[in-house]
Symmetry: none
């Protein structure tokens, strides 16, 4: 019996890994959704499990604790999100204002359309265990860097005016994190307009007058 187990170890490991990855992603996204919606403490693993239509026990197969699940949610989302923004920044041609506008618009769109409520995970300042807090800080840093680079470049080029880059970044981030709440009830064109309006308003933070709609 013991010997059997030794031989039967690795059949189709790859496909299994892929499947596992998909499952993990499902869980993480659902968790992020719920945590973002109600806050970490107000969401029980039962809630997460129920929305996924699995049992609580299953969650523990994929994650060793509730905290790790939340961290994974933040990490995964943050990673993907940042990657999308970084790609955009690389491809972009044109002035700093154009790039910043593009980044803001994309960021808000993702927040509102793809991961409503997920961003709040970054905001709600829970006392994470240090290991996880560090990881989160790093992510936040990478994320911030995308915007920071454009803004600093714009300032250097004399295109942007700011009181302080950090403060500007914080304001942008805070507003974008709340955006899903404001846009939650809008659909279709109205939502698109709201996103554009928010983008233009945030552009003012670097001294760019709003473009006429």
């Amino acid at each position: 019996m013991a010997r059997q187990e030794l031989t039967e170890r690795a059949p189709g490991t790859e496909r299994i890994q892929r499947k596992r990855g998909k499952r993990v992603k499902e869980i993480v996204e659902t968790a992020a959704e719920l945590f973002g919606e109600h806050g970490y403490d107000a969401v029980s693993l039962d809630d997460v499990a129920e929305r996924l239509d699995v049992t609580k026990g299953s969650l523990y197969y994929y994650f060793p604790s509730k905290e790790e699940l939340a961290t994974a949610a933040i990490e995964t989302l943050g990673d993907e999100w940042t990657a999308r923004l970084e790609r955009l920044a690389e491809q972009h041609e044109g002035g700093h204002a154009g790039l910043l506008r593009t980044l803001l618009h994309e960021h808000i769109t993702i927040a509102v359309r793809d991961y409503p409520a997920a961003l709040r995970l970054f905001l709600v300042p829970r006392a994470w265990p240090t290991a996880q807090a560090d990881r989160i800080k790093e992510l936040r840093g990478r994320h911030d860097a995308v915007f920071r680079r454009v803004i600093e470049a714009g300032v250097d080029a004399g295109e942007f005016t700011v009181t302080g880059v950090d403060t500007t970044l914080q304001c942008m981030h805070a507003a974008m994190a709340q955006s899903p709440l404001w846009c939650a009830r809008l659909r279709g064109k109205a939502r698109g307009n709201a996103i554009s309006e928010l983008t233009e308003t945030l552009m003012m933070l670097v001294g760019q007058p709003p473009r006429t709609g």
Copy 2:
């Protein structure tokens, strides 16, 4: 029986009421402090009771549930807060920009110095019972109105430029709600500077170029 009339009907009712009010205020303020600091879910009634140096049971003598206590805390804070801003607005003389700057500065100062965590109570989207949700919404309305009036007046006077008043308000509030987090580690002069910098940055949202520090 006739003699009874000489005695006052409700003896000492007033003083008792005052005393009760004072106690309630103590409790509410302590609660607000803790809730604001750690969030609604992270604070147990034991925590509140312990800081007040009474037993859990006593809290229930004054409030029928944790939720009601939290609502009271929010209400008290919001009330006082708004009142302070309204007073400022009334007294102010001078242009719209000056008033808005004053309001923003005061708001951030209160948030950072006096109630370093209270704003989160308004933000974290907990599913309050409707009775309480309504009360909170009303508070936010009053609070919003203070800022809305200045901005609309400034726009009408041609002093301010905005893409949309609602959006502008939302961005301001989002940023201010986060401010205690950014300033938490700062003290003394550094903190004052941070507050001023944030104020100036937010002034840009209505098209006012930052004043040179």
Copy 3:
């Protein structure tokens, strides 16, 4: 100071006692009502106090504990009740059937009209402390005795037929105790009819055919 108290002991003691007696009676009746309605455990002293529009503390001025209050309720009610029935029995002239019918009718009337729900106190078998249990048993005995005497006399006279006097008594008592529940929703004539019908039905327990209404 101590001396003063010795001299000031008894001014108008009598009137005070009477007043006290009235207050006690009010409390006892309200308590009996509530206990009978919802059961001893389901009623809190707060409930009693609120219906009386006094504070919980006041109840403790008159009764040393919840249990004593309940006992007092049972005792007072039982005492008065039994006294009324005993008086009726003494005055009565005529046959055994007539007396039993009168007693049943009166008993049910009191139960339904004067103390709805109070009788259940005797039924709900709580584990009273023995001191109080004894007192209750005695009361119950005196109460039972009124009916027992008529029934035994009737049986001896050959007027009544029963399988066993105890059993008959128990059935009567059980039915009468529930009667307020059945008649609670009836008013005026309808209630009078219901009481009469119940009386006639119980008369059958001693072999008396129902009188045509």
Copy 4:
């Protein structure tokens, strides 16, 4: 993928369901026992859990609240009880008096011997949530119907005499509900005699003279 079809979709679901059902039954029966013995309020979930040798938490795995557990207990008991009486009624051959006597005897026997305290759950007028109150009322209705049918049939056949069917039913039930109290201290033959005596006494409520023991 094709292989999956060979495996059953919900593996062992049936056995699990059966096991769960068994567990639920164990809990419900233990609960019914305790609630019946001491009353709803006097029994804590700790009591139930301890007798089952599990923790409180486990009970909440099966029932969402104490009230639901109690309702389930009542329902289970009532269901089984009524079913037993209905079966008896179906099988019975002979006159109405014989059937009624059988039903009464069986009912009292169950009450006294099998569920020595369950009836109180039906009697003590607790304010159940309406959903559950309805279910209980329905149960009582079914239960009542068994007796009502015999009595009405007997009356129609001229075998029985009653003042009113409802009143008669109420008296019978009131007496039977108390029976466990009266017989609690009796054992063996004495108990059997008490049950028979009570049965005969209740037969008098429909005008049937007692059979000589």
